[in-house]
């Protein structure tokens, strides 16, 4: 069960986490609790994997280059092909999606040359063509995601 403090931390501190020497104390002061309360509540959220971390969020392509890549693979071969794709350390997400084009993964590399090498290697290893869908523009205004925690 989430306490009110958990819910406040989840919804009110997805952005504007204080850049101050004692940020947890500043949050505690704003919420009328103790620094220990805030540290304990964040630790509980983290231990239960309700937050993955507290820290700076970097938009894609600001560090290195990345592309979303998609392939159409017959269902019978999907796991084999997916394993070959996932074996590359540059691949950091790999999903099966319900579509004729059914294998979707993100490749992150240090520069474009490296990115193209990884994608060419994957095409050769799997013998399926890879459709590259790099980000051309990012429209997301990231103010955090408004969570409905009424039943949480």
């Amino acid at each position: 069960m989430l306490t009110n403090l958990h819910k406040q931390l989840l919804n009110d501190y997805q952005h504007d986490f204080p850049l101050s020497p004692r940020p947890y104390r500043d949050i505690a002061d704003a919420l009328g609790v103790t620094e220990d309360d805030v540290l304990t509540a964040f630790a509980e959220l983290s231990d239960n994997h309700l937050i993955s971390r507290i820290g700076p969020v970097i938009p894609p392509n600001h560090i290195g280059v990345s592309a979303l890549v998609a392939m159409a693979v017959p269902e019978a071969e999907l796991q084999t092909v997916a394993d070959k794709v996932s074996a590359h350390p540059e691949v950091n997400h790999n999903y099966e999606r319900e579509h004729r084009i059914n294998l979707w993964f993100v490749v992150i590399a240090s520069d474009n040359e490296h990115l193209q090498t990884v994608i060419e290697d994957i095409e050769q290893e799997t013998s399926y063509p890879a459709m590259q869908l790099p980000m051309l523009n990012d429209f997301f205004i990231d103010l955090g995601f408004k969570l409905d925690l009424t039943d949480a």
Partner: protein, 166 residues
């Protein structure tokens, strides 16, 4: 742009700020810097939009947002920036990107990830995007993830944490 110290600060904080009373001091000690310099550089990177936000990164899947769809739309190139901004502002959209078409098999150039606690909620979100776009929507599809085959990085959890959460 970023220098080596900026990059080190980003690397040192990607797994999360420590849950200790003086987290920036802890990061600074690890890198041989002062806490003031760490905070000042994080602030500068935020102002130059290298850092989008600093805060708690929720695991949507664990919080009950188990239904996610990758919605894809075919929008005329001349208006995609305007339309993309409108879609990106919707509060249930977690990512919104312009990507290239690959004709003939892939006519879609606008990608928006939507998240909900039920299929019904996601269906209603997709309808809201359709209503917003009206006849500017030249075609659309929704791709649901059926299996996570690999997910690495610092975010644990299920499909609704989506690609590149960021």
């Amino acid at each position: 742009m970023l220098d080596d110290i900026d990059r080190k600060i980003i690397q040192a904080t990607q797994a999360g700020l420590p849950l200790t009373p003086q987290p920036y001091q802890a990061v600074a000690e690890q890198l041989g810097l002062s806490a003031d310099e760490v905070m000042q550089r994080l602030s500068a990177m935020q102002q130059s939009a290298i850092i989008r936000r600093i805060g708690a990164v929720p695991n949507h899947y664990k919080l009950g947002y188990r239904y996610n769809g990758m919605t894809v739309w075919n929008i005329a190139d001349e208006i995609i920036d305007e339309i993309g901004q409108q879609v990106g502002q919707l509060e249930f959209v977690s990512h919104c990107y312009h990507r290239p078409r690959h004709l003939p098999e892939w006519p879609y150039n606008l990608f928006a990830m939507v998240h909900g606690k039920s299929q019904q909620e996601v269906d209603s979100q997709i309808q809201q995007i359709k209503d917003l776009l009206g006849d500017k929507n030249l075609g659309s599809d929704v791709l649901y993830s059926t299996r996570i085959l690999k997910k690495t990085g610092f975010r644990s959890g299920g499909p609704s944490t989506a690609q590149n959460d960021s």
